[in-house]
Structures are given as C-alpha cells and as structure tokens.
C-alpha cells in the first residue's frame, strides 16, 4: 500500500496547478467548439439581413452595416420556387398540411401497436416487430419505386393523402418502438387488474394506458414533427406539385436560380425553413434529447 498512497500524495500536491491549467484548456475547447457550431447560424442570420450590394463587398462574417428585412419579405412572399413566384410561404403551409395529419396518425398508430405488442402478445409479435425494425434501417430507395406504382394504381399518387400515408408507413417503426419500450416499463399488474375488472382491448388502451402515456406521446410527437418537417425525399416524390413541402421548395428557390443569386433571400428562406424544428428544439430541450435516447435504446 505504500507505493500507491505515496503517488496519491504526490498527485494531490500537483493537482491544483494542473487542474487550473487543465480547466482553462477545457473551457477554451468548449468555447471554440461552441463558436464553430454557432458560426453557420450566425452567417445565415447576418447574410439574410444584408443588401446584395453589401454582400458583394465580401466579408461573410461582418455584421450588416444597414440591416434590412427586405430579403425576409421577399423570401416569404415573392421568391420563385420553380414555376410560381409566391415565396416560401406556399411550402410552409404545405408542410403544415402534411405535418398535422401525419404526426397525429403515426403517433396514434404507434401507440396502438406498442400497446398491443407489449400487453397482448399476439401471435407473430416478434416477427412483426423484427420486420418493422428492418424497415427503419433499409434505405427508402429500395421501397420507393413500387410505392409510386401502387399509389398510381390506387389513383392517389401526388396527393396530400398519398404523402400522409407514406409518412405514416415510414413513421411506424420508430413510433411503435417508442411505445413498446415505454409500455414494457409499465407494471403488468395494472393491465391484469383492468382485465379482472372486465375491461377489453380498447377500454384498457383508452382509459388506462393512454392517460399515463403523456411523456412518451410528447417524445414521439417531437421526433415525428422534426422528422416529417425535415423530410425532403418523400415529399419530393409523393406530395405532388401542389403540395411540395417547404424543404423541397427551399431547395428549388436556391438551386434553380438563374442569373445573379440573391444570397440574402436564400439565407432568409433557409432560416424560415429551419425555424420550425429549431423552435421545437429550443422549447422542448431535454425532451428532444430524451427522444434520441429512447429511439436509440434497443428493442
């Protein structure tokens, strides 16, 4: 015991100084990292508030000399998204129209599935769950063409119900996983007691399980709201010309511009598109992190 305790004494003697230098280094590392992560957001904001004359002078980090909201107004109401020039607001409202039914229905479906899988253990439950998980890992490119053909045969291709149905189909794995894991932590005695009282499948779900599911409903909604709002590929393929979501319209605004590119308008449109998930993120805080953790937990 002599050697370790001697070294511990030495270490204790040296510790305050190394700790001070180390702590300064630690804070420098954290601050520099934070600065790096924040820089693109800062660049977006200052660029969106400058006039094109000022942008042409260079100085991407410079604060706007004469701040203007004109680029924001243009991005929202008159920027050209391909054929029409009604601004990114069209995409915003399309995204809202896609988002609301997709989130409600996919979270509800996930809750029912998770509940049925956890408490009722129906035949083939494990096979079903494994196949669902597989759906979460396989790239959509494998499913997408047949889904287009099926949608076309059903006569819904390129409509709002089509894109909503597609979001529900690809949202099922994560929402089912979330609720299944959540209900796995609910004491089975609660379920058994309700059964003894004569409650059936739907009554136990609606009156016992759903009322105690608020935390996981919030987590699932946060995940689905950000996921569906940020979707690009499904909206591009299935939404149809009249329902293109905001991400697709944003990409059209920026990447189909001909002639001189109004970078200030582009950055204003980009912030507007990012604002919904950013708002959800900053308001929900720890819930967002919980969603990541819950989604990451193995089945």
């Amino acid at each position: 015991m002599t050697a370790p305790s001697a070294s511990a004494v030495v270490a204790r003697g040296a510790r305050p100084r190394t700790i001070t230098a180390g702590r300064i280094g630690l804070y420098v590392f954290l601050a520099v990292s934070a600065l790096y992560v924040l820089t693109p957001l800062y660049v977006m904001v200052v660029t969106s508030l400058k006039s094109m004359e000022e942008i042409r002078l260079g100085g991407i980090f410079a604060l706007p000399a004469a701040p203007t909201v004109a680029p924001w107004v243009e991005a929202w109401s008159t920027a050209c998204t391909g054929l029409t020039c009604d601004g990114i607001q069209v995409g915003f409202w399309n995204s809202v129209a896609i988002l609301v039914p997709s989130v409600i229905l996919s979270v509800l479906a996930g809750a029912i599935n998770g509940y049925a899988l956890s408490f009722w253990r129906p035949r083939g439950a494990n096979v079903l769950f494994t196949l669902l998980l597989l759906g979460a890992f396989i790239p959509v490119q494998v499913f997408i063409y047949p889904l287009v053909r099926i949608s076309a045969v059903l006569g819904v291709y390129g409509t709002l119900p089509n894109i909503v149905a597609i979001h529900i189909i690809f949202g099922l794995p994560i929402t089912t996983l979330l609720f299944r894991n959540y209900y796995a932590g609910v004491p089975v005695e609660l379920f058994k007691a309700a059964r003894v009282d004569g409650a059936g499948f739907w009554r136990i779900f609606l009156q016992v399980m759903l009322p105690m599911s608020t935390p996981i409903v919030i987590v699932a909604c946060i995940l689905q709201v950000t996921g569906i709002w940020n979707d690009f590929i499904l909206g591009l393929v299935f939404a149809g010309r009249d329902n293109l979501p905001m991400t697709v319209q944003l990409n059209n605004v920026v990447n189909t511009t001909t002639g001189e590119r109004p970078y200030n308008v582009h950055m204003a449109a980009t912030i507007l598109t990012a604002s919904v998930p950013l708002l959800v993120y900053f308001v929900s805080g720890r819930w967002f992190v919980r969603g990541i953790a819950a989604g990451a937990v193995k089945g």
Partner: protein, 294 residues
C-alpha cells in the same frame, strides 16, 4: 390464462401493421429485386435478362464514383463524429459551468433538415463571396475553402457539413452513457493514483461500448440514406465528383428512365445494409436470447 376472444382483438388491431409490413416493406422489396433482373426502361416490363443490369451497373463510372464516395464520406463522417462527440461529452462531464447552454448549442444542428445544412455550407464555401474570399481579404492570399465547388474536395465538403450536423448527436448519446457510470469508479481510480486519461481509455471507453455501437448504427443509417445533403450542397457535382448511391438510384428512377439499372443499384444497397446489420442483430438479439437460455 388468456381468454382467446380478447387476444383476437389484439391480433385484429395489428392487422393494419401487418398489411403495411407485408405490402409496403416486403412486397416492395421483392418487386424492386424482380425489376432489377429485367430490361425495364421507364416502366416495368417483365422481360428477364439475368444479371445483365448488375454487370452494366458495375461498368457505369457514375456508380463506381458513388460507391467510392460513400466509403470516403462514411468513414470520415462516422470517425470524426465519434471522436468529436466523445471529446465534447467528456469535456461536458467535468462539472463545468453552463453545461446546459453548451449542450443546447452542440445539439441544435441535429434538429435541422439536411437541406438547410447543405445550403448553409454551400454559401459558406462559396468561392467568390464565402469564407475563402473573406479570409483572403484579411491578407491571407493563398487561403482556399472552395470545397463544395472543387472537384477534388466536393465529397469532403459533404463530410464537413455532415459532421457539423451530427457530432452533437454522438455527444448526447455518450454523455448519457457517462452519466450512467458509477461515481465510485472515480473515487477508486483516484485512490489508486491512475491518471485520468488512462481511466477514460481503459475503463470508461469499454463501459461506453453499447452507446458507441448505438451511435455507429444511427450514423451508418444516415450515411446510407445520404441524399438530401448532397442534393442541397453540391447536386452531386462538380460533374459527378460527389455522387452517392442513394442519388444514383433516384436520378435513374425519376430522371433518366433507367428503372432496371436503378433497382439493381438499390438491391446492391439493400444487400450491403443487411450484410452490415447481420452481425449487429446477431449480437443484439440472438446472442442475448442464447445467454438468457443458458
């Protein structure tokens, strides 16, 4: 124990999911694989040509560039995210001030769309007006940061943007793992006089293995799905310099009327994903259930 009638309700309630899994997952996968063996152009025709589309695929330079790019992007993206995320998590775990603020800052890019990330970095890497021009204006004439518009660097530009977006995710997962480590470990190693870095390397990292595996799986899924980021940042260019497999499939399906070639490519993607998932699924489920039986 369980009355059969009510159990049937549970089975009935799951019928829609079964329908989704059978039609929208398994059915579409089978259909995609079938088309890949045909001579289809813009619509499926069932004139079978064996492996001809696969031979053609691996003679197509755009596909070969895509595969090479996804390997470069994937290894850089996953490797850098893990290192940066681990360092941030360890730094945040040192009882620092304003931890919540730092954590919020590091994770915010992950909440945004890849389209947003791609467009911001496209602007930052703009050769004429972006960071390159600004730094040159400060007197550093030789400074270059035009990666998104540079044939040799475009795929690295995608990696830079991707790392910026996803490092916070790794940080969040590993920080949760660090918080789960027993505080007695630190007391014990302090008593034994083991240097902190040694504790992290030899004890903490092995304890974090499940979280690291989770992070790698989530990042790998993002790599295979990489499409939006490339479309927004470089549109696969300059030329075909930053093409990726997911974009190759989409372009051939919806723009080039080459659905047989596209489905052959997506079948290759499918097989690669399943091959990569197999050992993980084995470790997670089959070995675990074996242990339970023993």
């Amino acid at each position: 124990m369980r009355p059969r009638r009510t159990s049937a309700t549970g089975t009935l309630a799951l019928l829609p999911v079964w329908a989704v899994v059978i039609v929208a997952y398994l059915g579409t996968i089978a259909w995609t694989v079938v088309i890949s063996f045909t001579a289809s152009k813009s619509l499926p025709v069932y004139e079978f040509v064996g492996l001809a589309q696969y031979e053609r695929l691996f003679r197509t330079s755009r596909w070969l560039v895509s595969v090479e790019n996804i390997l470069i992007f994937g290894s850089l993206f996953i490797g850098t995210c893990l290192v940066v995320g681990f360092l941030l998590a360890v730094a945040l775990d040192q009882r620092i001030r304003a931890e919540g603020a730092f954590r919020t800052i590091y994770l915010y890019p992950y909440s945004m769309s890849f389209i947003v990330t791609g467009l911001v970095w496209q602007w930052i890497m703009n050769p004429a007006l972006g960071v390159q021009a600004t730094v040159r204006g400060w007197g550093l004439e030789g400074f270059t940061f035009d990666w998104a518009a540079n044939r040799d660097m475009a795929i690295y530009a995608v990696a830079v943007a991707g790392v910026w977006q996803a490092s916070g995710l790794v940080m969040a997962i590993l920080l949760a793992g660090l918080r789960g480590i027993d505080q007695d470990l630190w007391k014990a190693t302090k008593v034994d006089g083991i240097p902190t870095w040694r504790v992290y390397a030899s004890i903490v990292l092995p304890l974090l293995k499940p979280m690291i595996v989770t992070a790698v799986v989530l990042l790998s899924v993002a790599v295979v799905k990489a499409y939006d980021l490339v479309v927004a940042l470089t549109r696969g260019g300059p030329g075909i310099a930053s093409e990726v497999p997911a974009k190759f499939v989409m372009d051939n399906l919806f723009e080039r009327s080459n659905i047989a070639l596209a489905t052959a490519a997506s079948t290759v993607m499918l097989v690669s994903v399943l091959a990569a998932l197999a050992p993980w699924l084995y470790a997670e489920y089959i070995r675990a259930s074996g242990a339970r039986a023993a």
